[in-house]
């Protein structure tokens, strides 16, 4: 899968989980700025990325993420 394609899928999955309209989340988004992105949602997103897209973000890193940029990097898109 081309990285850009995977990136789009990741963003779509996150928007779906947070019930946000398409286009809300971008590679520049800071997690803290998204009100809907709480700790429960964060766990659900990491779990769904693995189960639905096969994207495994290492457990230790998963808690440290603060931005989409970091998330996409750990997911191997950047």
């Amino acid at each position: 899968m081309a990285n850009i394609e995977l990136q789009e899928k990741i963003i779509a999955l996150i928007e779906e989980n947070l019930k946000l309209p398409a286009g809300t989340i971008t590679p520049d988004t800071q997690i803290a700025d998204v009100e809907e992105w709480g700790s429960l949602e964060h766990v659900m997103i990491i779990g769904e990325l693995e189960q639905r897209l096969g994207v495994s973000i290492p457990l230790d890193d998963a808690f440290e993420l603060t931005s989409m940029e970091e998330l996409l990097e750990k997911a191997g898109c950047l």
């Binding site: 700790s39 429960l40 766990v43 659900m44 990491i46 779990g47 769904e48 189960q51 457990l59």
Partner: protein
């Protein structure tokens, strides 16, 4: 709240993190926001907990067995932990709530090792047998089929190790959604009135092709291809029948052709005895439906009509709008699954009582009783030949049935006051009430538990507050035997008089004159029974001889 929002208040308690499921449920119901997880019994036991303030009507307990066992997988210690949990639950539960407790799916990586795999079903079985035992003793506890849900989805899709490590969230997003759907389905089941009768067409419905044309084309019903699709449909319908759905045939055929298939076709799963009534003729189907409703003594609003012919469906929809008319699938391979959907949507009940399991036979027995009535001379001779035996049974052992009767009986119901299960349970336990419940048998078979009377004995004169009887045993003077039994029991307690109440409704006219016929006289009405209420009284010293023939024990 969503469209199907049932207005019920529910709670989901667990020993693992279920916050995501709770959040999903909140779209459709009022859900208790648990404070954390793993203290499910503590929350139940503490009368001051926010759970009790919330006042949940239906409480779901989904328990992860591995967590409960704390990874101790030997059977002895598992037994102790599981028994402790159930003892704690039984101690904490109240009779006025409904509880769904999950069966379990033992999941954990050590359970994957070969040795543990062997004992896994046994460990789950320890939980399951305790759960079944609990349900036997408490009519308000039911099983939530969690294991089946996980099995359908598959372990690898249902559980997420990563989410577990991150936040003790056991279920994947998809599994969480399915659990929420399962819970909502149960909430809806608890709230709706199920249908009772499935009216079926024959040609191109129960089998493919047309009966009576066998010389040119035999009907399609076999062990292969399209014939198997029809046979599997019949298997689904037979299972529904065994669970209390009454089947009737409404079909345009030569009766002889259809009967030949019903009795003799080697691949028919459904046979004549599975049907409570039949109309195989060329009359309009709406007229046949009306006749059958009358014959079975059931309202047309409890009928579901299934026919492959869209014109027949339209006719029934137009002429009898209270009958439910589901769509019919285009492809035979979809027949069986369409029927399971119809079962879930219209017929499924929260709990099955012993009476449900035997319903068709009871109605079919009634037909035999009717034939006897025609073959003997007088009504008295008929009653004598019936050899009726009325047996008083312990109400505490038939709470669901008692609640069922109080809430669903319309015709032979003297007051039509509805009581939910918890009220019924407390009436049975109330020292100020006498609850009389009766089984009725005769020479054709067991009618089941079909009559109940509840007497309030707190005043100087006891009052028969509720008196209900199933319509299928009406017209045999059974009510006379029952009232005599109630009166005798009260007389033995030292009471000199008894009162009965009649509150008129649109449907209970058949019993409007009951107490007068039993020798009671009307006394000044009491305000608390409303404008439609009448009060009757009899002196227990002067109870008249009545026309009941049979034995009461």
């Amino acid at each position: 709240m969503g469209e199907q929002g049932t207005g019920r208040r529910i709670a989901l308690l667990s020993n693992v993190n279920m916050n995501a499921v709770i959040r999903t449920l909140q779209k459709d119901a009022e859900v208790y926001e648990a404070e954390g997880y793993g203290n499910e019994l503590g929350i139940l036991m503490n009368p001051a907990s926010s759970y009790h303030v919330f006042a949940s009507e239906i409480t779901f307990l989904v328990i992860d067995l591995m967590e409960l066992l704390e990874h101790e997988l030997d059977e002895e210690s598992a037994k102790v932990r599981v028994e402790d949990w159930f003892a704690g639950f039984e101690n904490a539960m109240t009779p006025d709530g409904i509880y769904y407790i999950s069966d379990v799916y033992l999941w954990g990586l050590e359970a994957e090792t070969a040795d543990a795999l062997v004992s896994r079903t046994r460990l789950e079985g320890i939980w399951e047998s305790e759960l079944r035992e609990l349900c036997r003793h408490h009519a308000n506890v039911r099983i939530l089929p969690y294991h089946h849900m996980v099995a359908c989805l598959g372990e690898e899709n249902a559980f997420s190790p990563k989410m577990w490590y991150m936040g003790r969230i056991l279920l994947s997003g998809e599994a969480g959604k399915r659990l929420a759907a399962l819970i909502l389905q149960k909430v809806i089941l608890e709230s709706r009135t199920p249908k009772k009768v499935l009216a079926l067409d024959l040609d191109n419905t129960l089998w493919g092709g047309l009966a009576g044309e066998h010389e040119h084309t035999p009907i399609v019903l076999s062990e292969e291809h399209t014939g198997l699709a029809y046979k599997n449909l019949q298997r689904v319908i037979l299972q529904m029948q065994r669970q209390g759905v009454l089947l009737v045939i409404i079909s345009k055929n030569n009766a002889e052709d259809a009967e030949k298939i019903l009795q003799g076709h080697p691949h028919m799963v459904l046979r004549a005895e599975h049907f409570a009534a039949k109309r195989i003729n060329w009359n309009a189907k709406n007229e046949n439906l009306e006749e059958i409703a009358k014959e079975l003594n059931l309202g047309l609003d409890s009928f579901v009509f299934w026919d492959d012919n869209p014109q027949e469906r339209l006719l029934v929809q137009e002429t009898l709008p209270m009958v439910t008319v589901p769509e019919f699938p285009d492809k035979p391979e979809e027949l069986a699954s369409a029927m399971t959907k119809i079962y879930g949507e219209y017929f499924q009940k929260a709990v099955l009582t012993a009476e449900d399991l035997d319903k068709t036979k009871q109605y079919a027995d009634n037909e035999a009783r009717g034939r006897l009535q025609r073959s003997v001379g007088s009504f008295e001779d008929y009653l004598e030949k019936l050899q009726i035996v009325i047996t008083r049974v312990d109400a505490a052992e038939h709470l669901n049935r008692l609640a069922d009767m109080l809430n669903k009986t319309n015709q032979f119901n003297l007051t039509t006051r509805r009581h939910d299960l918890s009220e019924v349970q407390s009436m049975v336990q109330d020292r100020g009430k006498r609850v009389f419940l009766y089984r009725v048998e005769d020479c054709f078979g067991d009618n089941g538990v079909v009559a109940a009377a509840i007497v309030d004995v707190t005043g100087e004169i006891p009052v028969i507050e509720e008196f209900v009887m199933s319509c299928r045993v009406m017209g045999k003077n059974i009510e006379q035997g029952i009232v005599s039994d109630v009166e005798e029991s009260l007389r033995q307690e030292g009471f000199g008089r008894v009162r009965g109440i009649y509150i008129s409704t649109a449907k209970n006219k058949p019993v409007a004159d009951l107490y007068r016929q039993l020798g009671y006289r009307e006394v000044a009405g009491q305000a608390d029974f409303g404008a439609m209420g009448k009060v009757y009284e009899i002196s227990l010293d002067k109870v008249p001889t009545r026309g009941f023939q049979g034995v009461i024990r």
